[in-house]
């Protein structure tokens, strides 16, 4: 394996966060919550940005021990064809969704880059904001996705402990720890505007992983200063493989991690998905979390199946079990009860396209009369 990146052990500005995360911390959860809440209110106001995942395909080439889509699971495999994607998008639009995250497994022949790129182009016709959570790609692939209207990618390292990582990822391309940790950098080099990072809590020492995640955010923020950064704290959920997390994280510790992150990174978007219970999500709204998924389906074709009684029966199992099963309407009502405005559209398609540095390179190319190599087109 290649050497670990230097920033992974950079302790320049982790002391304050480490102190907040320590079980022996002098600051009670209540004081952290109060500070986190005040920062969130000032910076983000009384609003919650909403998005929903759209599972394009559950084919996968990797053997992640904790995942319901790992290639050795008996789950039926399926990928959405263009007309099915359009049906899913229509069903999502009906419930108000305007910000979506397209998901696939690790790269396979069935769901490869071309398939993903075509899917992004279809989605970008319908939705103001399209992000992708798929497999690690090359700079030029990311550039092509940005050209098709993909503004963000989500790529969780799952754990920053390379030994644990090695043990958990049994086979497949995801086994390459370094390749994965460098993926956000390739995406940003390719002109992707924002990157979502995360750890899968339960897999490894949560405090150690949280500190590494923080180092990653700071490293990207310093080096790719235009990058939009968001951070997620998914906890292991029951899934088809039946894997039991060896480092379970309880509600108190998760809350402490979220508050500490908000205080350490006052401007960074913090995400909480429907993996978490309605009670926990409602409780955390306004205290630090600024972005939540809503009415999520983790099955391929989940939205249009529930939308139409005549369509095919639900035939796949999801990547993991959803905990907050409320409809968008119910969830928004709960937010409004807490004086928080659900925001579905918080992006403008006219802001799509590769990020600025890439544009400048193009202009320089043009003015120098060099031939700009055309990357893959969107259709």
């Amino acid at each position: 394996m290649r050497a670990l990146p230097e920033w992974l052990t950079d302790n320049r500005d982790t002391a304050a966060l480490a102190a907040m995360l320590s079980p022996a911390s002098s600051r009670s959860l209540e004081t952290l919550a109060a500070e986190s809440r005040a920062i969130t209110l000032r910076r983000f106001g009384r609003t919650m940005a909403l998005y929903a995942p759209l599972y394009l395909s559950n084919y996968c080439s990797s053997g992640c021990i904790y995942c319901g889509f790992a290639s050795d699971r008996q789950t039926p495999r399926h990928r959405l064809e263009p007309d099915e994607i359009r049906r899913e998008l229509a069903a999502m639009k009906k419930i108000g969704i305007s910000d979506i995250l397209l998901l696939t497994g690790e790269r396979t022949v069935a769901a490869d880059f071309d398939y993903l790129q075509r899917s992004v182009a279809i989605a970008a016709e319908e939705m103001p904001r399209v992000s992708v959570e798929a497999f690690p790609m090359s700079v030029s692939e990311y550039r092509a996705l940005a050209d098709c209207g993909c503004t963000g990618i989500t790529i969780y390292q799952e754990t920053y402990n390379s030994e644990r990582y090695e043990a958990l990822h049994r086979w497949g391309p995801k086994k390459d720890f370094i390749d994965r940790i460098e993926t956000p950098e390739r995406a940003l080099d390719g002109g992707i505007k924002s990157v979502g990072l995360g750890i899968l809590l339960g897999l490894s020492d949560p405090v150690e992983d949280t500190l590494s995640l923080y180092r990653h955010v700071r490293h990207l923020g310093r080096t790719w200063w235009r990058a939009g950064l968001s951070v997620s704290f998914p906890r292991m959920r029951p899934q088809t493989g039946g894997y039991e997390p060896p480092f379970p994280v309880d509600d108190h510790l998760l809350a402490r991690i979220i508050f500490a992150f908000r205080i350490a990174l006052p401007d960074t978007e913090l995400v909480l998905s429907t993996r978490e219970s309605a009670t926990f999500r409602d409780g955390m709204a306004g205290l630090g979390i600024t972005r939540m998924s809503v009415e999520s389906k983790t099955t391929v074709g989940g939205y249009s199946v529930s939308d139409s009684k005549n369509s095919r029966e639900k035939r796949d199992e999801g990547q993991f079990e959803i905990s907050d099963n409320r409809t968008a309407r119910e969830f928004c009502a709960a937010l409004r009860n807490q004086n928080i405005e659900p925001v579905f559209k918080n992006w403008e398609p006219s802001y799509n396209g590769p990020s600025a540095r890439i544009n400048y390179e193009r202009e320089v190319d043009r003015s120098a009369s060099t031939i700009t190599p055309e990357t893959e087109t969107c259709h």
Partner: protein, 257 residues
């Protein structure tokens, strides 16, 4: 009459309100009404034609007597902001555009180079350009030269509530400007707004301080009163500040002179 002049438009209110960050559009509309603002800014990204409940533009257009100033918040380049301005004009019919370009979505600091470029293009196209900028006196003059309707330097970072942290630079900008200077961002309390007006700002723009207040409409009203008081004080002329105490008429022994 003492009015705020922007292009050929005049406004008796010198408080401009932002419309993001509110808990719902009813509270936002109540705050706008209570503020007496005649100019309000709304982000193009919050225009939602598909879903009325999620849209900020529809509710605002029900209030009589206000002019919308769409903003390009979310744009990270001049090209994106120019595209956004065109769409915003089509949707709102407003000649105003608040050019807001922050390439780093975390700290939301405005990009001077991209902002200048977008402002140059949009001013030429006839927009009333209101650029959101750092408190940079030279940039302010450059934007004035290319025909902006105002300059909108920040008091401190958006949503920070740090008040007039840039006051030294603001003083230079105000002293040298021939177009209205409007402090935008960072204000937390009405007294800070009053202070900005006493310094000679032509208006202030407030959003977080109202939206994140305990009672937004009441806070909006308090800002309106503070802005009016600060303006009145500026026009009345503040007495000179001195570093030492001055006894009343220390030179009376000299007789009339």
């Amino acid at each position: 009459m003492d009015v705020l002049k922007l292009g050929s438009y005049t406004f008796s209110s010198r408080l401009i309100l932002g419309t993001g960050k509110f808990s719902n559009s009813t509270v936002m509309l109540d705050a706008v009404r209570a503020s007496g603002a005649q100019l309000v800014t709304v982000a193009l990204r919050r225009f939602n034609r598909q879903q009325a409940e999620d849209d900020l533009f529809g509710p605002l257009s029900t209030i009589e007597g206000i002019t919308l100033m769409p903003n390009t918040s979310g744009a990270s380049t001049a090209a994106e902001a120019v595209r956004a301005a065109h769409i915003a004009r089509e949707l709102s019919g407003s000649p105003f555009i608040k050019v807001e370009i922050h390439p780093n979505p975390q700290h939301l600091m405005p990009d001077p180079i991209e902002t200048f470029e977008a402002a140059r293009i949009l001013a030429k196209e006839g927009f009333l350009v209101m650029p959101y900028i750092a408190a940079d006196p030279v940039l302010a003059k450059r934007l004035e030269e290319i025909g902006c309707a105002s300059v909108m330097p920040l008091g401190s970072a958006i949503g920070s509530g740090q008040g007039l942290a840039t006051s030294e630079m603001l003083n230079i900008i105000i002293r040298e400007s021939t177009i209205p200077v409007i402090v935008d961002a960072g204000l937390r309390s009405p007294s800070e707004a009053a202070h900005a007006m006493e310094m000679g700002c032509e208006a202030v723009l407030v959003n977080s301080a109202v939206a994140a207040a305990g009672h937004p409409p009441e806070m909006a009203e308090a800002f309106a009163e503070a802005v009016a008081a600060g303006r009145k004080a500026f026009r009345a002329g503040l007495m000179e500040k001195s570093g030492f105490a001055v006894a009343t008429s220390p030179l009376t022994f000299l007789g009339t002179f």
